[in-house]
Symmetry: C2
Subunit: 214 residues, 2 copies
């Protein structure tokens, strides 16, 4: 039985679920700050107040815990963008989303995107982690795409526009902008990248939709 099967198959009491969740939260926070390799299980134990046997009771090994952290951070990141991410179907909504991301970046004191950081650190070495993170980006991108799709169906985006590609471009701008913002400790690069991406969407809006927005 693999570690993953274990955590899925075995039954958990309410207390057990709480403990397990507390471990993931603590690990997610620590890994956000110091990376996977920079976070030892000892500090995870200390931060979550559990013993080593508890850690290995709930997770097969460190890699299994990291996969759970990926899932948790993906949830957190998507939730943090609500309600914007759920309805990116107008230029105004895109701009509000942009502002929210910029604000979020300031709130996290420019520590970047947790999912992006994990992707950067793990994609080379762990195929399994890489696939999970690719899935995270896919979900994120799909959420963006849904809004653009709506715009296109409403006739606000030209029919030649490709919502899938536009969504990927927007997500790329978020990631690139956040990385530069984190490194330079300024939110300017993030703002510039996002504005560019939104302009790119605007450039594929129909004349009708453009005139309506004034």
């Amino acid at each position: 039985m693999t570690a993953q099967q274990k955590s899925q198959t075995r039954s958990l009491t309410a207390r057990g679920a709480t403990t397990r969740s507390r471990i993931i939260d603590a690990a997610a926070d620590l890994i956000y700050d110091h990376g996977v390799e920079g976070t030892s299980l000892d500090v995870v134990m200390a931060a979550s107040g559990v013993s080593k046997s508890q850690l290995y009771h709930y997770f097969g090994d460190k890699d299994a815990l990291v996969l759970e952290v990926i899932a948790r951070q993906t949830e957190r990141v998507l939730e943090a963008q609500q309600p914007h991410l759920g309805a990116l179907d107008s230029l105004a909504a895109l701009k509000a989303w942009r502002d929210a991301i910029v604000a979020l970046n300031k709130a996290t004191r420019g520590r970047g995107c947790p999912v992006g950081s994990l992707a950067s650190e793990l994609s080379n070495d762990s195929q399994s982690a890489r696939k999970h993170l690719a899935g995270s980006f896919a979900v994120w991108s799909e959420r963006i795409e849904q809004g653009l799709d709506k715009m296109q169906k409403r006739g606000e985006l030209v029919s030649s526009a490709e919502p899938h590609d536009l969504a990927l471009a927007l997500l790329g701008a978020v990631q690139g902008g956040l990385l530069l913002a984190k490194t330079t400790q300024s939110s300017r690069p993030l703002e510039i990248a996002l504005d560019m991406a939104i302009d790119h969407v605007a450039s594929q809006m129909t004349r009708r939709a453009k005139s309506r927005r004034r």
Copy 2:
């Protein structure tokens, strides 16, 4: 005397300089693949064929070596983009640069940008590394800006365009695109991000320059 002063002040024989450089190269390669925390000094020793005393003879500690790796990777990345990076002063040049980056991404089998990876891993924990990496991005961005500046002075970019911001947007697209490409193991996100950024530059070209390009 700090480690940095040591390596700057002390004289190096030709043999010493070679050894020192070999260590940095080996460390750069290993860190590119496995990250800083994932690369032990023991494997650096093995890969470069030096002993521990040599390592500590040339570098004060691991952090000092990492700073040299940052510098080396910055050089490598900038050189790899030549001759394009030296003259990004037309839409054609930008497109050729785009193709070169995509090709480079394929050549490195989608392992991403060495500078970007270092920035992602180190920016939170090491102010010193973060500043050096911010410097790397600044140089990179300036090189891009120089070409755009030329275009503007020639009247090919509208006077309201801001070459500095455009350069940052282009660099952000490179970084975001490379991260998504690395995670999804596809060069599509990179191509999409770069095309968007180049369109963004094109959208700020003067009518004269646009007609000329046909």
